[in-house]
Amino acid sequence: MHMADALLSPTVGGAMWTATAGTIAVCARKVQRDLDDRKVPLMGVLGAFVFAAQMINFTIPATGSSGHLGGGMILAILLGPYAAFLTIASVLTVQALFFADGGLLALGCNIFNLGFFPCFIAYPFLYRPFAGSNPTPMRIAVGAVLGGIVGLQLGALAVVTETVLSNISELPLQAFLAAMLPIHLGIGLVEGLVTAAVVSFIWKARPEILRYTAESRPLGHLGLKKVLVGLGAAALITGGALSWFASSNPDGLEWSMAKASGREELETPATGIHRLLAGIQEHTSFLPDYGFKNNGTEPASAAQSQPSWPAVDKGTSTAGLVGGSLTLALAIMIGLLFRKRKQTP
């Protein structure tokens, strides 16, 4: 469920980067102000723990597949939401850099999808009310399972939204949702069950560890609403600015809008943002479009009939193919030359 750079448009990626960077800044300030310096090394080792835990599998009965811990919920329970968010962000950064899970641009999306929802939605609104400050194994289980499911459903929803808004993949919203949500219902259930089992184990073995975070106030003075509004505004502004930069092709986006406006399920606030961005883009585009080049803009009202874009232009295509193959050959040649040199010494 890691988002990939290849499926992301710079506008969506940049907006998510801003949202993530803002959340990290807020969390860092909060953790630093907490003056609990025990947390600094604890965050480090718990991040490494999640890393190791993700690498160990268990078999899911009756399915033959295997599962592992995701870690978002358990970090939130052990460290509280702010420190947990920073820890998840660091784990995902290492995964992106070393294991090619996601990418540089997609890192913003991934941290948000896998960190924000468990830490700031599932933990404060589901786990804490259910588990309370004096938990029993049953209450821990209910809270963790609900939190795990909701956190992952929201994460999957975010992945789908980001992919559809980016419009690199052709997958329609409904089909993508129908594929992603049920899968993540299962993953969320497993995540919740494992989290519950591990937390109950800790609660039985060393209850003081859990009592320590359970007593610290859940969300402090910083109102969640204020943070959310701030993040939303920041994401919008960056998105706008970036779409100005990234507007390589006005008719590409317009085309997608035309397709989108033919369907009613996209009439969400998200469409509003998309339309706004597309509007900005239309007025400010400065990079020429090439590849399969066509005339300037397509009227957006061509919603019903399939627009004839992109048109077939034989001359450009031939030159593109010739040039493309030559460039590819050059790239491969450099690679081969390199290999030869590597082997000879």
């Binding site: 300030r29 723990f49 993949s169 089992a197 184990f201 590409g252 010739v322 030559l326």
Partner: protein, 270 residues
Amino acid sequence: MAKIESAFLDLTYLDRLATGTTVVHRLDPRVKVLTAALFVVCVVSFDKYVVAAMLPFAVYLMIIMRLGEIPAGYVINKLIVASPFALMVGMFNPFLDQQTVLLLGSWAISGGWVSFLSILLRFCLTVTAMLVLIATTGFNQVCLALERLGIPNIFAAQLLMLYRYIFVLLEEGQRMHRARTLRSFQQRGMGMKQYAYLLGQLLLRTIDRGQRIHLAMLCRGFDGTIRIRQTLRITTRDIVVFLAGGMVLVAMRRFNIALLLGNFITELLQ
């Protein structure tokens, strides 16, 4: 499952590559981080039907890989392992978008195939760029660069701390995993209950370790702030490389070099 072993190998292998001393390794890490970011932004900002114009970026990467002495075989291996999500999502494009955009003689190629190819190319380019960054820079240097570029100090400290203890905990997890596997016959003991106990044990050990580390840090005068002592010095060479590399990237984004080359060749042939 050899997953934990392979993760360990990956980390140590990339760590070892990062100790090289080539021209690319010696550049200032900030230059490399910013160039990698620019590279990714340039690649993903292409329209979804672009293939040819993206290929010069592959040449660019190949040259850097060659200068940095990064083995191509390893990168290709990683690309294959990491590809499923992009591949699965992109795979539907040929079925959903069947409008013809390209004619090769009498052979019509639909927009879906072109955009699928474009997704694959984007995937290869962005993932390779990231691997090249980490293999020529090393994680500690990347963190240092990020800290200098303005990420919160505590987050930089968290990244460094995590990286330091990943090796320790992976080894510990590996031992426990091996012990469990050796005692499990016909999948008995590989279930969720034992998994939870195993993780619980590992977690308790981890928390104890955290406390010990904290005490050790207090003994050495830790007062709640992490100070990163290492300094970076940017030279004129770094600035020149950054500007030149950035200009090449922007030029490749701005002009379709493959198309220009193709035009040139076809005109020459006529």
